[in-house]
C-alpha cells in the first residue's frame, strides 16, 4: 500500500487556511468551522436524508443540472462531490450524526482540493460509508489522502496538543480516554475519530500494560 505523504497533506491543509485568510488559533475553543472553507471554494453543501446516487441525481435534475451516469442508484452513500466548471456541490447524508456529516464534508473538500485536476473538469465522486471510515485498512490512496486531510483540518495537531497540555496543567493528569471524549464534543467530531487522532499523535496518557 502506498503510504500517504503526510507532509504534502499538511501543506494542502495549510494552503486552504491561507486561502481563507486565517490560521488555526489554539486559544480559540470550539470546532474548526468548515463552512467558511467551502465558501472560499464556492462549494455548496447539500444534506439529503438517506443519501444515494438516485437522491443526488434527483436533486441535480431538480436544479436544472443534467448529471452524467451516476452508477448504482440504490447504493447508500456518506458523501458525494459534484463539480463542473460552473458549480460545485458537496452532498452529505443528513441521516448521519453531525460530527460524521462534517467529517464527510471535509473528506469531499479534500477530494476537491487534492484530486479534482486528476479527475478532469467534471467530477462526480461518490463515497460510501466504508470509504470515509478512519481505519488503517483503507486501500485506496485517494480515500486515505482525503481522510488524512479531513483529520488534519478538523483535528489540528497544534490544537490537540494545546488542549491536552491545558488539561494536564489544570488537573495534573491527562488520561487519553476522557480527553478524547471531551475533545470530540469540543471539536464536533466523532469520539472514535478523536480517539484515532490522539492515538496517532500519542497525546494523552495511556495506562501502562502490566509487566
Amino acid at each position: 500500500m502506498t503510504p500517504v505523504d503526510v507532509l504534502a497533506i499538511r501543506a494542502a491543509v495549510s494552503s486552504v487556511w491561507t486561502r481563507l485568510g486565517i490560521h488555526p488559533d489554539i486559544d480559540r475553543r470550539g470546532p474548526v468551522l468548515l463552512a467558511p472553507f467551502m465558501d472560499t471554494y464556492n462549494l455548496i453543501d447539500v444534506a439529503l436524508p438517506g443519501l444515494s446516487r438516485a437522491a443526488v441525481f434527483d436533486h441535480l435534475q431538480a436544479k436544472g443540472i443534467t448529471p452524467a451516469d451516476v452508477g448504482d442508484e440504490d447504493e447508500d452513500l456518506a458523501g458525494f462531490l459534484f463539480t463542473t466548471p460552473g458549480v460545485g456541490l458537496i452532498f452529505v447524508n443528513a441521516s448521519d450524526p453531525i460530527p460524521r456529516q462534517r467529517f464527510t464534508a471535509a473528506h469531499e473538500l479534500a477530494h476537491y482540493v487534492l484530486h479534482r485536476d486528476a479527475m478532469g473538469g467534471r467530477v462526480t465522486k461518490a463515497d460510501t460509508p466504508a470509504q470515509i471510515e478512519l481505519t488503517d485498512e483503507q486501500s485506496d490512496l485517494h480515500e486515505r489522502q482525503a481522510n488524512r486531510f479531513a483529520v488534519e483540518l478538523l483535528m489540528p495537531d497544534d490544537v490537540c496538543r494545546a488542549r491536552a497540555e491545558a488539561f494536564r496543567s489544570a488537573y495534573g493528569i491527562c488520561p487519553r480516554g476522557p480527553l478524547a471524549y471531551q475533545l470530540a464534543a469540543d471539536l464536533l467530531v466523532s469520539r472514535e475519530g478523536m480517539r484515532y487522532r490522539l492515538n496517532q499523535l500519542e497525546v494523552g496518557d495511556e495506562p501502562e500494560p502490566r509487566s
Binding site: R28, R29, G30, P31, L33, L34, A35, P36, D45, A47, V92, P97, I98, P99, Q101, R102, A105, A170, Y171, G172, I173, P175, G177, P178, Y181, Q182, A185, D186, L188, P207, E208, P209, R210
Partner: protein, 359 residues
C-alpha cells in the same frame, strides 16, 4: 457570519423558554442484559436469603480512603423547533463536575475537582453548518464559555414529536459527560482504595488489576437484576443485612463497554417501606477474585465492607437522600456543589446571550 451566531441560531429556530423538568424515564432490563447475570456466585438461586453482615472490621486496604462523586445541576432552558419536521428540541443548560476527597486521619480533604458549564441538545435535528457556528459561539463566550454536548437522535422507534423524548436525550448526554468527570477524578489517584458514587459496571476501567480497590455504591435502581427469590429476599431484608452477591457481565463484550462486577444489595438502615434504604454495591470482578480468591474469603470481604458502609451511612436528617447515602459521599457532593455557580445566575447569563429574554 453573524456577530452573534448563538443568538442568531436560537432566533432562527424559534427558541422559547422552558419550564420545569418532567419525571425521569425508568428503563427496563432486556434479555441480553439478563443473560449476563450469574446469580449463584455465593449460593444457589433457590436458597437465596438475607445475609447477616458480621461486626468484623475491615482489613488493611479494604476500607476506602478516597471518595469520588460527580454532580450535575441543570435543566431545560429553551425549546427549539426543528426546521424540516417541526419536532420540539429541548436545550439543557447545566454545570457538571467530578470531585475526589481523601481521608486524612479523620478529615476529608478535597484532592481533585473539575467542573464546567455545558449546553446539550439533539444537534442532528439541525444543519451541520449552523451547529458548528453555534458550538464555536458558545465555546467562546467571554468569562463563561459553554461546551456544546451533542446529544444523539433518539432511537428510530421513538416518537420524535414527544418533547420529553428529546429532553431525555439531552439530559442523558449531560449525565454521561458528568460520568467522564468522575472517571477523570478516579484517574487522579488510581492506587487508592476508592468508593465511587454510581456504577462501575458501565465504565471503561482499564486494567482493574493494576488499580487500587474500587467499590461502587448505586442508589438509584433502574435495572432489574434479580430473580423472584432475589426480590423476595431484597424486600424482606432487615436493616444492616444484604442479599447474596452475584456476578453481572456487560451485555456486549467489547472494549469500553464496561467491566464484570460482583454485586449485592444492602439495607443501610431500618425503614418502613420495603424498597427504601437499599443500595447496590459493585466491585470489579477481576479485583474481587484476585484479592479474595476463595468463596469464603469473598464472603468475608463482602460482609466487612457492608458493615463499613452501614457504619458510614449518612445520619443528616435534613439531607433528602439520607436513607441511601454514605456520609463521605455526601461531603464530597457538598464540597463540589459549593463551587458551582448559582443556577439562576448561569441561566440568566445564558439567556441574555441567547437573546431569549425577549418573550
Amino acid at each position: 457570519m453573524s456577530p452573534n451566531p448563538v443568538r442568531e441560531f436560537f432566533r432562527r429556530h424559534s427558541a422559547s423558554l422552558a419550564g420545569g423538568a418532567p419525571p425521569q424515564v425508568i428503563q427496563s432490563t432486556d434479555s441480553a442484559e439478563r443473560a449476563g447475570i450469574r446469580w449463584d456466585s455465593e449460593m444457589d438461586t433457590e436458597q437465596w436469603e438475607a445475609r447477616i453482615c458480621s461486626e468484623e472490621p475491615t482489613r488493611s486496604g479494604e476500607a476506602p480512603t478516597r471518595f469520588v462523586d460527580g454532580c450535575h445541576i441543570g435543566e431545560s432552558v429553551l425549546w427549539l423547533r426543528n426546521p424540516s419536521h417541526g419536532w420540539r428540541v429541548a436545550v439543557t443548560l447545566s454545570e457538571i463536575g467530578g470531585v475526589s476527597m481523601e481521608l486524612d486521619g479523620r478529615t476529608l480533604t478535597r484532592r481533585f475537582f473539575g467542573l464546567e458549564r455545558v449546553v446539550s441538545f439533539v444537534i442532528d435535528a439541525f444543519p451541520w453548518n449552523e451547529i458548528e457556528a453555534v458550538a464555536a459561539g458558545l465555546a467562546n463566550i467571554r468569562d463563561y464559555p459553554l461546551r456544546l454536548l451533542p446529544a444523539r437522535m433518539p432511537d428510530k422507534d421513538a416518537n420524535l414529536f414527544d418533547p420529553e423524548v428529546m429532553r431525555a436525550q439531552a439530559e442523558a448526554r449531560t449525565l454521561r459527560e458528568m460520568s467522564v468527570w468522575e472517571n477523570i477524578a478516579l484517574n487522579s489517584d488510581p492506587l487508592a482504595t476508592t468508593l465511587l458514587d454510581g456504577p462501575v459496571s458501565s465504565r471503561e476501567i482499564s486494567q482493574p488489576k493494576n488499580r487500587g480497590l474500587l467499590i461502587a455504591v448505586i442508589k438509584t435502581h433502574t435495572r432489574n437484576y434479580l430473580h423472584d427469590q432475589g426480590w423476595r429476599t431484597l424486600l424482606e431484608l432487615p436493616d444492616s443485612q444484604r442479599t447474596p452477591f452475584f456476578r453481572v457481565d456487560p451485555p456486549v463484550p467489547r472494549r469500553g463497554a464496561g467491566v464484570s462486577v460482583a454485586t449485592w444489595y444492602l439495607k443501610l438502615s431500618h425503614s418502613a417501606a420495603p424498597n427504601s434504604s437499599i443500595v447496590r454495591v459493585e466491585v470489579p470482578w477481576e479485583q474481587f477474585t484476585q484479592r479474595w480468591p476463595t468463596r469464603d474469603e469473598q464472603i468475608g470481604f463482602v460482609n466487612r465492607i457492608s458493615r463499613w458502609m452501614v457504619d458510614a451511612r449518612c445520619r443528616q436528617q435534613s439531607y433528602a437522600r439520607m436513607p441511601i447515602s454514605l456520609e463521605p459521599i455526601v461531603r464530597a457532593e457538598e464540597s463540589l456543589k459549593s463551587l458551582f455557580t448559582p443556577f439562576g445566575v448561569l441561566r440568566n447569563r445564558f439567556l441574555r446571550h441567547a437573546g431569549s429574554l425577549m418573550s
